[in-house]
Amino acid sequence: MNSLLKKSWWKILAVALMVYTITAGLLFEVPRLAILNETIRVLYFHVPMWFGMIILLTVSVVYSIKYLGKPSQKFDSYALEFANAGVVFGVLGLLSGALWANYTWGSPWSSDPKQNAAAIAMLIYFAYLILRNSLEDEQQRAKISAIYNIFAYATLIPLLFILPRMTDSLHPGNGGNPGFNAYDLDSKLRLVFYPAVIGWTLMGVWLTSQRIRLRAINQKLDERSEEQYVPTGQHADEPRPANNEQSAYSRSVK
């Protein structure tokens, strides 16, 4: 994973796919359908959010499991940042879905089972983030939030994959609504949809990797500043001899 994050080919791929998704998604021919009309293009921007969210959250859980197997700070920050990115995707998915539903279903929130499930999933992960903030000790925070992450994910599976299939939904493909396949007679939608899913997911991973690196840098800074202040043992009002070191240090960071 670490070596992969440092390589740049997948970032170039992500940018290329995003450029393709946006241009092709907005300009290519789409099936002409009543009610949906041009809004069918939301398929390239809304649906990949859910794929991305589920993939990112799954990766987060994998790192939580790894953390419990072998506690290390790295796994903890991976789990946290993948969950964060998953939440961003989930919120974007909810917003884009609500916008679309406003024009096709008549109101932004129609108590659709999938919509509700997505909102509950967001609640679970907000609770995860709050749980993290209310634990002081770093190791305990990492461990307990890893446990909750796994526990919550296990209850999320029936929510996301079983419940929506048991009730009628307004979403295309459910409750008598024609699905993806019915619209897409000539597979034109797929030609943009699958690249869009990969592109958005890679964007999510990229975002996550930036956040992970930022965290690592902040952690190093904290450690350095502790090294500076703790051993001197002087009063706070005395001029700090560490000043020179500080400037030397900030230069080295630059």
């Binding site: 419990l68 509950i120 999933a121 609640l123 679970i124 609770a127 709050i130 749980l131 209310s134 634990l135 002081e136 190791q139 305990q140 461990k143 307990i144 890893a146 446990i147 909750y148 796994i150 526990f151 919550a152 296990a154 209850t155 599976i157 029936p158 929510l159 079983i162 419940l163 048991m166």
Partner: protein, 222 residues
């Protein structure tokens, strides 16, 4: 071996609870007054509540009762005593005995709640067998989920708030299934309509139970 341990720990929980009955009486009174507050706020003639409202209100009361009753399963014990238990028994034994005990407690509370609720707010239930079966599954599910959540929340500073915010979203899938089956039972639909829902409910219970069993040892060591 594990079974024997669970049985012993379970007996310990029951005896402890029985010796200081004020906690138990307190939660029973909580149930009764919650039902009564609901009754008074609707200010109803008996039996004039719509079935949908009756059903939803019943399960919301049950949810809050469950969170309050089970929250104390880990928070109540003093730190020293917890360490003592952990030195003499296995984590699996502890979590299983706690879950079993909470299931028993939830059943007691659920039936108390049902009786008071039906007396005060009227009783539209047509299929009692299905309703009670559903109540059993719901009590088991609520207790299993919330026991683990209580264990997690008890490690934090503001455990009572966290108990609610960690517990609610996790329990919603279960609650949705329970409310659906319960609606079928009240309407007296044939049991075959509810097979799928009951199956999913049972499956969720098993998933949550297994995950708690696997994860608790890690929680215990922290």
């Amino acid at each position: 071996m594990l079974w024997k341990e669970v049985k012993l720990l379970f007996r310990k929980e029951v005896i402890l609870e029985w010796r200081q009955r004020n906690a138990l009486n307190g939660i029973i009174l909580y149930v009764v007054s919650a039902v009564f507050v609901c009754y008074l706020s609707f200010n109803l003639q008996r039996g004039s509540l719509k079935v949908v409202t009756w059903n939803a209100l019943f399960w919301i009361i049950m949810l809050f009762v469950a969170i309050n009753a089970i929250a104390k399963s880990f928070m109540q014990e003093r730190f020293g005593r917890q360490i003592y238990y952990y030195t003499i028994s296995s984590p699996q034994g502890i979590i299983l005995s706690k879950i079993l005990y909470n299931v028993l407690l939830m059943l007691l509370l659920a039936f108390t709640c049902l009786i008071v609720y039906a007396v005060v707010l009227g009783n539209p239930i047509q299929d009692w067998g299905l309703f009670v079966l559903n109540l059993l599954l719901a009590s088991a599910g609520f207790s299993t989920t919330l026991t683990m959540v209580s264990g997690i929340a008890s490690r934090t500073n503001n455990s009572s708030t966290l108990m609610a915010i960690l517990g609610f979203p996790v329990i919603i899938p279960m609650l949705l299934m329970v409310i659906r089956v319960s609606k079928n039972a009240i309407d007296g639909l044939d049991i075959s309509v509810s097979y799928d829902d009951l199956l999913v409910l049972g499956a969720i219970n098993i998933i949550v139970g297994t995950v708690s069993y696997i994860l608790f040892p890690y929680l215990w060591r922290s």
